[in-house]
Amino acid sequence: MTAVLLPYLYTGGVYKHGLLIELLEDLGGYIIQKVVTGTEVNMIMLIPEKDVGLVKELAAELLGILIEAPLTGVEIAVVSPTLASHHLPHSACDVAEYLRHPGANTNMIGLARGMGRRVSLSMDYERRLINEHDIAVFTFGSFSDCIINKKPKLFEGIEIPIVVTGGPDLKTEEVSGADLYVGNIGRVSHRLRRKEEVDALDKLNEGVAKIVDGVRKQLAKDPLAVIPARIMKEIENQVPEINRVLSPAPITLQLDGLRVKLPYDRYHEKIEKLEFDEGVVLSELANISRSKMKNYILIKIKSKSDVGFAI
């Protein structure tokens, strides 16, 4: 049985942060993402539950901050009706940025024809792209009539949990098809920084974390054959080309899989043949397919009951 891993975010100076990485490797934890900006470093990591104290001690010694990051390893689609100036950069970008604070990876998706009431619609391609994520956050406008009566048709065909943001103060039950509704984040033309707006964003993060918790619990009933972070580590070891990818998150973790930002045609065989110490290859444990996003590789891990064993 593998140890329970807890997600944490470390923020501190670049100086000696390698010690932390070494410690984590010794403990059997994983570095999910490392971003160096100037003299600062942000690291999202998974730490074995019983060793959190050790890492905390070292972090304190290095004068860094270690905080819990409940959305680590979650890929969220922030869906805006279109990419016009009506929705961007505020509020859709603000929502996406705020969701990244607790560790999530967000992708902004602007629908081609999502605007309007009667005329809004989503395409099959867009729906499949959204379904590749763990959670979809739809950012809607200020009219309750639109949100209640017209916009829910955009949810058709979406199989992942749906979170909706909008201006009016509605109950989640009023928005059919949504798993959570968060008000006070409607259409705005300024940066969300007033107290009630930031409160609403906090509420959104809490709500999303709760949904993620639910999904994780569901997954725990029939665990994955291998945890995504382990595949990430193996890809980094066995496919060195991943180090030359310039995306901020070359391997993006999902709750039940990963997105590898390498071209599918050239690398999918290499990924399929990824070997583990236990003697199995990745294609036995997961479905590897072409992602709808930029020809990347999408890995969806099979469950233990499906494969018959877990490593």
């Binding site: 009506h86 009667r118 200020s142 639109c146 009016p168 409607g186």
Partner: protein, 200 residues
């Protein structure tokens, strides 16, 4: 008329009115329209997919020619024209026009307040430059108003009607085919603004 002396936003639900007022305020400030708008009224009817707006503008400046912002002096011997800037705020507009006419290679800026142009016909050209229109605040205002209208309208409302006449601006947008009565309603809003004065 004071700037923004009347600012009315109407819709069936109060909280939505507040949201929308904020959107309109933000866009007025980002397009720097506040000094130009005297009275504005917006009516929202999302259930009918309808957005109506009427604006009464304040007096805006008239066209500005070079002579009002600078001294133009021809130097026939040196084949040059020297422009001494008096109002720097219009310098960029002037330079764009000059570059177009004479090319960047023929224009020097020895210092912040001087523009020198090399030309074969300094006398005639100096005369032309003096009368040239540098900035037309009305034209800029028109552009900004149309931009403003499109930015504040809900994005899906792509069927639009707009009227810009004198100091009056009427804008109606919808998702459905435009109805004559909507335009008339917006016209009535404008009339109300013209008569109403300080209603709020």
């Amino acid at each position: 008329m004071e700037a923004l002396e009347t600012f009315i936003v109407e819709s069936a639900i109060d909280s939505e009115t507040e949201f929308y007022k904020k959107i309109i305020e933000d866009n007025i400030s980002s397009l720097k329209l506040a000094p130009a708008i005297g009275r504005i009224k917006v009516v929202l009817r999302p259930e009918d997919s309808l957005f109506q707006m009427a604006i009464v503008l304040r007096e805006v400046g008239t066209k500005l020619s070079t002579i009002e912002m600078a001294d133009v002096e021809a130097k026939p011997v040196a084949s040059e024209i020297i422009i001494s800037i008096k109002k720097e705020q219009y310098l960029s507009d002037l330079l764009i026009k000059l570059w177009e006419r004479y090319g960047k290679a023929n224009i020097r800026q020895p210092d912040r307040w001087t523009v020198a142009i090399s030309t074969d016909r300094p006398l005639q050209e100096a005369e032309f430059i003096e009368k040239m229109v540098v900035a037309d605040p009305r034209h800029t205002l028109h552009e900004n108003l149309v931009d403003f209208a499109i930015r504040v309208t809900p994005e899906g409302f792509r069927v639009r009607y707009h009227l810009f006449k004198g100091n009056h601006f009427v804008f109606v947008a919808s998702e459905e085919a435009m109805k004559q009565e909507w335009i008339e309603e917006a016209g009535a809003m404008l009339k109300e603004l013209l008569e109403g004065g300080k209603t709020k």
